[in-house]
Symmetry: C2
């Protein structure tokens, strides 16, 4: 797919910039000139061209869509700007520099496959994001869209609603190949992680890597849990063995994942890549001042004020929400008790149905509460006015995580530790696991796909009406407009959250329901397919995200595994088999349980320390890189000194 820009040269369109349809001409002209201007003049030096009207030009069609691309030279220098790491001829990963470009493994000249399309798109996004205002005081034609020297133009346009979206284009051919090797063929092989990374970037690939790793890691637990379920082993010793194995296994797999993720990130070049200085997020506001780090003009917002907002508003709000959630749960248990009572007194068909009503109401209420809370959490976190996107994300994740944890597990905790009804616990656990798994996959993949396919077919029919078919390929204009209408993928947040809750089902009550691991393994296998499917067919292509690890989620999973130690020890201590060992003294029983729990926790922490986070061979490679740069520095110094002494003579 090639496109021609105004100067007549043809280029591959990589990224689409969509402005509001009523954008003023002068603003468009100014933006395009800034994008095309040379870097020495402070421009982005990219190629940009307006998207022509589609074959099925409609009234409501937005004319202000622009295709952005770049020359190979520009992309290479951009790769150096963003600090891309690439494999050298000697097998090590190094930061790409244009000067040394020939020492990199796959570099064969210009225009080759050295940079993947995802990398090119990431570079273009970075160059657009760092396109800064010079001496403009506002966007031409929009006096309310203030600018000051150094302000990112794209971010201002976004925050003022002039810019609707910037998104990368799919590559139909590559996508077809990827989706075939990923989920379309029936196979017993691993996911093509390198291909996923090549197409979607490191953040996505790490998620799928984690999903795969997590599935394999659960297999031993599933295998060991199976006979417990099949043969109904309710034996004390066996349960304790299973629980202890589980707890240690959780720690080990989380530690090993760090090593695994470090290996992946090293091979993908993101492990030692330095993060560029982060710009303030589009919604950030404050009094204009000078950033103490960069010295650039930008809005400043005092940290103390933000902390006040967090501790005096957000924290109490979250606590109140948790309280409401617990309160609703109590009402549910009361309603259920009442319904059971009614049914027991006078068992008819209608009272039998009545028994299900509390559960249904509770499930609906939980979903509604989740939605409202998510919305409120986003508003609150926005209002906390974080300067950085990463800090905004962390605060949002924390809020949503805590609430979801309570919503999901509070009823189970209540059944386990207040009602102490293990049979009911097992039933609830199974019901929750299975329904949530089926609902999730339907809601997140197949429903959106069905909607998307309807749109797709409509577009196809329209195009076919207008002109004779040329294969099944849509022309570029239609393809772009179709993708612009696709839903936006909002990041891996919800996917990780789902895994996190599943991890909770497996570990928190593992000694009561050993089958959970098996169910989660089965779920994860279908999850791979449905997630892959939704990435390839439902969503707009996301920009790649050069992640080096799964970030805050590692912490969340580790916290869950600590909580699991406590719950499992408590459950074992409460089991009648164990109680039978201490017939005289409940005190003895509790003291032993607590002692074992503390021992396990201590063992967990020691294990975390003992297992190095980065595998030895990667540590060596990283150390070698550092050593070489030190030596190069020394050599340079020596040469300078030599030259100096020569010039002095």
């Amino acid at each position: 797919m090639l496109s021609t820009d105004s100067s007549g040269s043809r280029f591959t369109p990589l990224v689409v910039v969509e402005l509001a349809s009523d954008t003023k001409e002068e603003a468009i002209a100014w933006l395009l000139s800034r994008i095309r201007d040379t870097q020495q003049n402070g421009g982005a030096e990219l190629l940009v061209e307006q998207l022509g009207p589609g074959v099925v030009a409609e009234e409501k069609e937005n004319p202000n869509m622009f295709l952005v691309g770049a020359s190979w030279q520009r992309l290479l220098s951009g790769a150096e700007d963003v600090g891309l790491f690439k494999e050298c001829s000697d097998g090590s990963m190094r930061g790409f520099t244009c000067v040394n470009k020939h020492s990199f493994k796959d570099f064969k000249g210009d225009g080759d496959d050295f940079l993947s399309m995802a990398e090119c798109q990431y570079i273009i996004k970075h160059e657009l994001d760092t396109l800064r205002a010079k001496d403009e005081t506002h966007v031409p034609g929009y006096s309310q869209a203030k600018l000051y020297p150094g302000k990112s133009i794209i971010r201002r346009l976004l925050s003022k609603g002039i810019l609707i979206q910037v998104f990368p284009l799919h590559d139909k051919e590559e996508l077809k190949r990827l989706s075939f090797s990923w989920y379309e063929k029936v196979k017993l092989s691993l996911q093509p992680l390198d291909d996923i990374r090549h197409y979607y970037g490191e953040g996505q690939a790490l998620y799928f890597g984690f999903l795969e790793y997590f599935t394999f890691a659960l297999v031993p637990m599933a295998l060991i849990g199976l006979p417990y379920y099949l043969f109904d082993w309710e034996d004390y010793d066996k349960y304790v063995v299973f629980a202890v194995f589980n707890l240690i296994w959780c720690t080990v797999i989380l530690e090993l994942w760090k090593r695994c993720s470090a290996s992946l990130a090293y091979n993908w070049g993101t492990l030692s890549r330095k993060k560029a200085f982060e710009e303030p997020r589009p919604g950030f506001h404050g009094v204009l001042g000078f950033n103490p780090v960069t010295g650039r003009e930008e809005p400043l917002y005092p940290n103390a004020k933000r902390l006040l907002r967090i501790y005096l508003v957000s924290l109490p709000f979250v606590l109140v929400c948790l309280y409401v959630s617990l309160y609703v749960m109590m009402i549910y248990f009361q309603m259920e008790g009442w319904a059971l009572n009614v049914h027991d007194e006078d068992p008819t068909f209608w009272t039998g149905i009545l028994c299900f009503i509390p559960s249904i109401i509770y499930a609906v209420v939980i979903e509604v509460m989740n939605l409202i809370y998510r919305y409120a959490a986003e508003l609150l976190t926005e209002w906390e006015n974080h300067r950085l996107e990463s800090s905004y994300q962390n605060h949002l994740v924390l809020k949503v995580l805590v609430f979801n944890f309570i919503n999901c597990f509070a009823s189970l905790f209540y059944i386990a530790f207040v009602m102490q009804d293990m049979v009911l616990l097992r039933q609830s656990l199974a019901t929750l696991l299975i329904t949530s798994q089926i609902l999730n996959q339907f809601m997140e993949a197949f429903l959106p796909y069905w909607l998307q396919r309807r749109r797709n077919k409509k577009m196809m029919r329209k195009v076919q009406k207008k002109r004779t078919m040329q294969g099944v390929e849509l022309p570029l204009e239609e393809q772009v407009r179709l993708e612009a209408d696709m839903s936006t993928y909002l990041g891996t947040f919800d996917d990780y959250l789902e895994l996190f809750l599943l991890f909770g089902y497996v570990t928190l009550f593992s000694c009561v329901y050993p089958l959970a691991a098996l169910l989660v393994v089965l779920n994860n296998i279908t999850e791979v397919y449905s997630d892959a499917f939704k990435m390839c067919r439902v969503f707009k292509r996301p920009f790649s995200d050069p992640a080096a690890n799964i970030g805050v989620w590692q912490l969340a999973f580790e916290a869950m595994s600590v909580i699991a130690v406590v719950t499992n020890c408590a459950l074992i201590g409460m089991s009648p088999h164990v109680k039978a060992y201490f017939p005289d003294s409940e005190t003895q029983l509790i003291l032993w349980t607590v002692a074992i729990e503390h021992g396990l926790l201590a063992f967990k922490f020691i294990l975390t320390f003992l297992i190095p986070d980065v595998p030895k061979h990667i540590q060596i490679k990283l150390a070698r890189l550092e050593f070489e740069s030190l030596e190069a520095f020394k050599k340079k110094k020596m040469l300078e000194a030599l030259e100096l002494s020569k010039s002095e003579q």
Copy 2:
């Protein structure tokens, strides 16, 4: 004090190199020529001169002592080699480079006070350490002292016993000034930390900084604990309040210390200083191979073998030692019980004395066990064959720490949780605290001082006999020989260990003996004086150590504060006042205690996360430095591109 080297130029002697008195002439000549040789020839380019015979030349006097110094040019380029950070004119800390030397704050020309004497000595030590063999196969005259290209000469000479010691010289004038402002004047002011750092380097200064910080941090606990002791408050509520305050306070002070230490390390330039590649330690042996990081020839030792030695020999050994220690403790309690019995049956003067005998025997046995264990731990850690000094130190610290912890606190734990005798616990705690404090300060400062002073006076008398007095100053030759005979300071290990144990006395049983904090505060105040005194008067000057934090000790203190939560909760749960609140059910009491303990632990961890480790203003300074280097890199790239495009035209 100036000295003249063989070429006749005068230089300030900074470091003394002492070879064995029977070293062969050819080895000496070779070593001196390598030290004097220019850097381009692979030498160290330092000035070196043999120390003349003293006024009181004796038979046994070692003639092979050498004074090492360097020209100012050499020291400045060495400062760049070791990556010294210095304050710039704009107030920021930057890595020193000779090219930009004039942009640094205190740089006024050559030969000024830009580098402190400690820094110069550190630089010389570094240059000596990195003096490498070229094509020599062995040290001349010593065919068994093998060399290979790239082997550090000094380390080989040390490991073969040809080199006895390398130590920096004291500066009498500066030492006098320092000791006056530090401990000689009666004052109510803080320690002169910057001066300590100037004279002894960052590692020492951080220790004294920590000692001071720790003392001040304990003051609130001491003040709150005092009324508990004075008014004999044995009230449940008050005790709980005190214990909870203590636990939270411990966490807070440890977190705040990280910030404090980051501030100090930033101002001293060690926070962002990059560590040079670490050489193998002198005792490290293995099959000669190529280091995968540097590519240099050096001995290699497989990590798997080391791990086997650690887990199959060292770990069981430590466990056996711990068992023996506990066993000895049990014997002690039995002996004491028996002695008390004898005394009760027939109380005479002799049986009264008999009661003290078990304690005395136990105290002596503990000291002996500590000594033997320390020796064994050093042997074992040596045998584990660690490549790096830092890893050797960490393994040694861990071994000694665990054993000392058990030895010190096992009897207290036994009294508290097995005998449940709170009165005895309080007594033992007080006895242990006070005796250990008095014994320690006597053994570590005043006894060595007294011995040293005797030597000193003997030397003085001899000198006075030989020639007429010229003031009270000793001539350089005598001064050097005197310092060579002083004891070597073995690092901050023992000092930190002492503080660690004191911290344990304060926190582990704080709710039983609130006065402990006050005693430790008093102890610390005298400790500052005795430690300062011993540094200035007893020991050889140590080489400065560019530490950025207190390292593994931070972890040790944090672990202690976690254990303290557990012990304090258990003690409160066991107190009769609390038991009275749950008259019917011991189970309820234990469950509440465990719940509160878990809550406190969770709160501790959250607090650790919430308090940032580096203060905001230093984070900003560090970020600015990084940002500037990124910008400089971009600018350089832009210029290169411009030049390239010009040359192409």
